[in-house]
């Protein structure tokens, strides 16, 4: 195991984040505050509370999930796409590193950044609403596993994409709609019967529900199912990466 290489990739990627620290921190804080104003204040004045939780607090886990997924996917994809695009990938391919070590470095950094931003949003929310975290361990569990799973998805997208459009496609057309429809801003139980069934096919529902349960002890689906589902997603991503590795897909000519 070439730990030195993993460390180098990780530090290098994190320093990219550090260079753009201002944007990295300020933009999620600003957009979260906007969500609080729009959803929390405007809509929240009509929807008093959901299952005993004030609407403003209720949306916090969903907001964190929304940003976590977007950040994990976009960092994960950009980290590996950029060297491909500039050609600097030659060095990675000629270095004594295994595919696993490359993934560990890039995905680790992408997930770290997403988690940091998730925690910043959580901290920001304390400025606006009262928050409780009933199950801190499970809160961190969902945060971590989700970040890694979607950073892996991002990594796969970054390997697959051969232009910037493709890089944007999946986050824009798949991730964002799924998150918005995944009960980030409402409880699935608020939906009409038929749509509740449809919603169960949305993987994000399980993430948001489990994450929200870790905060308030209330969930749309059994938290155990959420844990199982996130485990399944993680396994799917690892399987996909393994397959890409086996076929040498898209990296080595």
């Amino acid at each position: 195991m070439n730990f030195q290489a993993v460390k180098s990739i990780y530090i290098y990627e994190m320093s990219r984040t550090a260079r753009t620290l201002f944007q990295s921190v300020v933009s999620p804080v600003v957009s979260t505050s906007l969500y609080f104003v729009v959803f929390g204040a405007a809509i929240g004045s009509r929807i008093q509370s959901v299952e005993g939780v004030s609407y403003g607090s209720f949306i916090v886990p969903g907001l964190i999930m929304l940003t976590l997924l977007q950040q994990a996917v976009s960092n994960g994809s950009f980290g590996i796409y950029f060297p491909k695009f500039t050609g600097t990938i030659y060095e990675l391919l000629s270095a004594p590193v295994s595919f696993f070590e490359v993934i560990l470095g890039y995905v680790g950094a992408a997930a770290t950044k997403a988690i940091m931003i998730g925690l910043i949003i959580l901290a920001t929310s304390y400025l606006f609403v009262d928050m409780t975290i009933l199950h801190p361990f499970w809160m961190l569990f969902f945060l971590l596993v989700t970040a890694f799973t979607f950073a892996l998805l991002g990594f796969i997208i970054g390997i697959w994409a051969d232009n910037f459009e493709k890089l944007q496609l999946v986050p824009l057309l798949v991730i964002t709609p799924l998150v918005f429809l995944g009960g980030s801003f409402y409880s699935i139980s608020m939906l009409p019967e038929g749509w509740q069934t449809v919603a169960m096919f949305n993987p994000v529902v399980y993430l948001v529900s489990g994450f929200r349960w870790a905060f308030f002890g209330y969930s749309d689906v059994d938290p155990l199912i959420s844990v199982a589902m996130i485990g399944v997603f993680f396994a799917i991503m690892v399987g996909a990466i393994w397959w890409i590795f086996k076929t040498g897909y898209h990296l080595r000519t």
Binding site: S8, R19, G87, Y90, E91, G248, R252
Partner: protein
């Protein structure tokens, strides 16, 4: 022979079906400077990329330091440094950060003293904290060299190191190459320019259409294929070469004012004295004489032409 890199029957067919390497075999001796000479698309970069692990071979084997490049890639790649043909560098990173990153990728702990030495030897030390995008093209190439040297490789590949480089930097480059060779580093460089191969290399390999046409000690090559020509300007144009001179390899120019004699510098006798005597006997009067040596360029052009 002590081969540090050994290529055996290496073939490469790209995904599109194009065969860029056709059963190439080549042994590179430890400590030598070998130049791979060939026109655009000859397969030079493909050969280098395969040895370095960027391209996967379709068939054949490559060993570096006696180890297989696929089975023992961790060991072989540590031995190799690569300066790619394209100026592919990070944009926003500083020079030091990117060189340090390269060293780490190859599994070595940071060593600021060594990096300082490398940057100084490449005249990059005063640019160490500059973002790479703010460097000139020639400096970017130096950064690529610094990255390739960051892990103290024993074999260095330079893929067209002088493309887009001015005379001054080229001179520096050759000095660096010679210094590295003196330190025992084996150097493989590719070039389109024959003068470069002539100037720096110990051995020259000519490659075209994915095949190695020849590999030869530079001096041997020059000797073996080195022919000289003697050009004789005549006072009075001749219409034909007189029969008495038919035993010489002579060519008459169209205007009849110039005779060209081709001879081998290695032959026991060049035949010049006899020719000049016979020339006078045949009644031809010389106005002027000039000799010229065929360069590696001519050899190369001939080889590539024959191959086409």
């Amino acid at each position: 022979m002590n081969a540090i890199v050994s290529v055996q029957n290496l073939s490469k067919t790209y995904a599109g079906g194009f065969q860029a390497l056709k059963s190439v075999s080549l042994d590179i001796k430890e400590g030598e400077i070998i130049a791979l000479l060939g026109p655009n698309g000859a397969g030079k970069t493909t050969l280098i990329s395969t040895i370095c692990g960027i391209t996967t071979p379709s068939s054949g084997t490559v060993t570096v330091g006696g180890l297989d490049i696929q089975k023992d890639y961790r060991e072989t790649r540590k031995l190799i440094g690569l300066v790619p043909q394209e100026l592919t560098v990070e944009t926003f990173e500083t020079v030091t950060a990117t060189v340090r990153m390269s060293r780490g990728l190859f599994g070595y702990k940071p060593d600021d003293a060594y990096i300082e030495k490398v940057l100084k030897s490449l005249s990059l030390w005063d640019k160490k904290d500059t973002q790479i995008r703010a460097l000139s093209g020639g400096m970017k190439r130096r950064v690529l060299i610094a990255k390739a040297l960051s892990h103290q490789p024993r074999v260095l590949f330079l893929d067209e190191p002088t493309a887009g480089v001015d005379v001054e930097l080229r001179k520096d480059m050759w000095n660096i190459v010679r210094e590295l060779r003196d330190d025992g580093v084996t150097i493989i460089l590719t070039t389109h320019y024959i003068e470069e191969a002539e100037e720096i290399a110990d051995r020259v390999g000519v490659i075209n259409h994915g095949e190695i046409l020849l590999v030869e000690d530079k001096a041997e090559l020059m000797k073996k294929l080195g022919q000289k020509t003697l050009e004789i300007d005549l006072q009075e144009p001749a219409s034909v070469i007189p029969d008495s001179l038919s035993k010489y390899q002579l060519q008459l120019s169209e205007s009849g004012e110039k005779l060209t004699y081709t001879y081998d510098t290695n032959a026991d006798r060049t035949g010049i004295t006899a020719l000049l005597t016979d020339l006078g006997k045949a009644g031809l009067v010389m106005k002027d004489l000039a000799t010229s040596q065929s360069s590696l360029e001519d050899i190369f052009v001939n080889l590539v032409k024959e191959d086409a």
